[in-house]
């Protein structure tokens, strides 16, 4: 495991340049910067429609210093497949690795079919889903990744609603079920861990998949300065376990010396504030705690006990 360390001006590759239009404090922007830092220059990047695309590519400006393409919201995996096939056919396979960076909506909802096809066909592509747990670009609508209890604009809290009710889709397990050789979860709150995983994924032959948790201060409703802190809290409460799955085997689980209660995470964000305000909110919080407990059980998160 390589350890990344920024040594200052010259060693930073800066492949995702300043001037992009992400909100101040955007977790995705941090993540993308780190992904490219780890990936290096020899990649071709595909992004679907979403915050990342919108903040990085208002013609004639682009924040990308690697070759980059955006086509539609649902087809990043297919476009990436075409690029990989094209490189092969043109004898340029050595030139670059293909990297897709896509939001949770683009990945787990509208792009699920193409992603499944890309996995199945075995393309040599690294697919990274940055999961900010809603459709942020269009104004914080729920996605299949919005966690239970969160209020989103299409699953709002209201007089008879506690917000989202469906559990998050388990994307990593779905990738594993597809036989993807390298699968990992990551968090923008653990930047060096993320970079290491990106490098492993890219070095892996065939499809690889990283499910990357990134806070969105605008959608989660927290101060812009708290992005990293809150992303870490998701890990520290057991709501976002960090692990790798290599050839179907879970490896390298990030263990927690002392798992925090989920309230520590929930109370930092406006999207959960109704749980602390509405009658019956405690019950929802209890259920969210149960999810964390189940994760701890499944992945052996707790160092002691």
């Amino acid at each position: 495991m390589g350890v990344y360390r920024f040594e200052g001006g010259d060693t930073v590759k800066n492949l995702f340049v300043s001037g992009h239009r992400a909100c101040a404090g955007c977790g995705m922007a941090i993540a993308v910067k780190l992904i490219l830092e780890a990936a290096g220059e020899d990649v071709i990047v595909v992004s679907p429609t979403g915050c990342l695309e919108i903040v990085s590519s208002p013609y004639p400006e682009t924040s990308w210093r690697v070759p980059w393409i955006h086509s539609l919201f649902e087809n990043a995996a297919s476009v990436a497949s075409g690029i990989e096939a094209g490189l092969k056919a043109l004898g340029r396979k050595h030139e670059a690795k293909v990297l897709a960076i896509a939001g949770d909506g683009a990945t787990a909802d509208i792009g699920m079919g193409p992603l499944s096809g890309m996995f199945e066909r075995g393309h040599d592509i690294t697919y990274i889903c940055y999961d900010n747990e809603a459709y942020m670009n269009t104004g914080v609508q729920r996605s299949s990744m919005t966690p239970p209890g969160a209020s989103a604009t299409t699953s709002p809290a209201g007089k008879v609603s506690f917000g989202e009710i469906h559990p998050k889709k388990d994307l990593a397990s779905i990738a594993v079920a597809h036989g993807v050789g390298y699968v990992a979860t990551a968090s923008v709150g653990y930047g060096l861990d993320l970079m290491r995983k990106v490098r492993r994924a890219i070095d892996h032959d065939g499809p690889s998949f990283i499910h990357l948790h990134t806070s969105c201060c605008t959608g989660w409703r927290h101060p812009s300065s708290k992005t990293i802190e809150i992303s870490r809290l998701a890990v520290l409460t057991g709501l976002w376990p960090l692990y790798e799955v290599v050839d179907g085997e879970i490896t390298d689980v990030k263990r927690l010396p002392k798992r925090l209660p989920v309230e520590d995470y929930l109370k930092t964000q406006g999207r959960f504030s109704h749980l602390f305000r509405m009658e019956g909110g405690e019950e929802i919080i209890r259920r969210i705690q149960a999810i964390a407990d189940a994760n701890a059980e499944r992945f052996g998160l707790d160092l002691e006990g």
Binding site: G8, R21, G25, C26, K33, P60, E61, S225, K226
Partner: protein, 86 residues
């Protein structure tokens, strides 16, 4: 500017977009407290934290949006935010 076919853009051109104008608070650093963990560089969403041997950590105010992450993540508590004056 003439448009290029297919809306194809040249690399890294968003650098013309001075997002420093978005800022309402700005980061300052007390160099004496910096322990060079480089968290600020790692986690700045706008790549606006720079470092040189000579100057240590400094900010590129052309792009800093004032999110405050660097201050929040600073191991040495060397970075702090102040209101922007204009």
């Amino acid at each position: 500017m003439k448009l290029r076919i297919g809306a194809i853009a040249d690399p890294g051109t968003s650098i013309v977009n001075r997002t420093g104008g978005w800022r309402s608070e700005k980061p300052l650093i007390d160099h004496s407290l910096c322990i060079r963990c480089f968290n600020c560089i790692l986690y700045c969403p706008d790549s606006a934290v720079k470092y040189s041997e000579k100057e240590g950590i400094y900010f590129d105010y052309d792009f800093c949006k004032g999110c405050g992450i660097c201050a929040n993540e600073c191991s040495g508590r060397a970075i702090y935010m102040v209101m922007e004056e204009k």
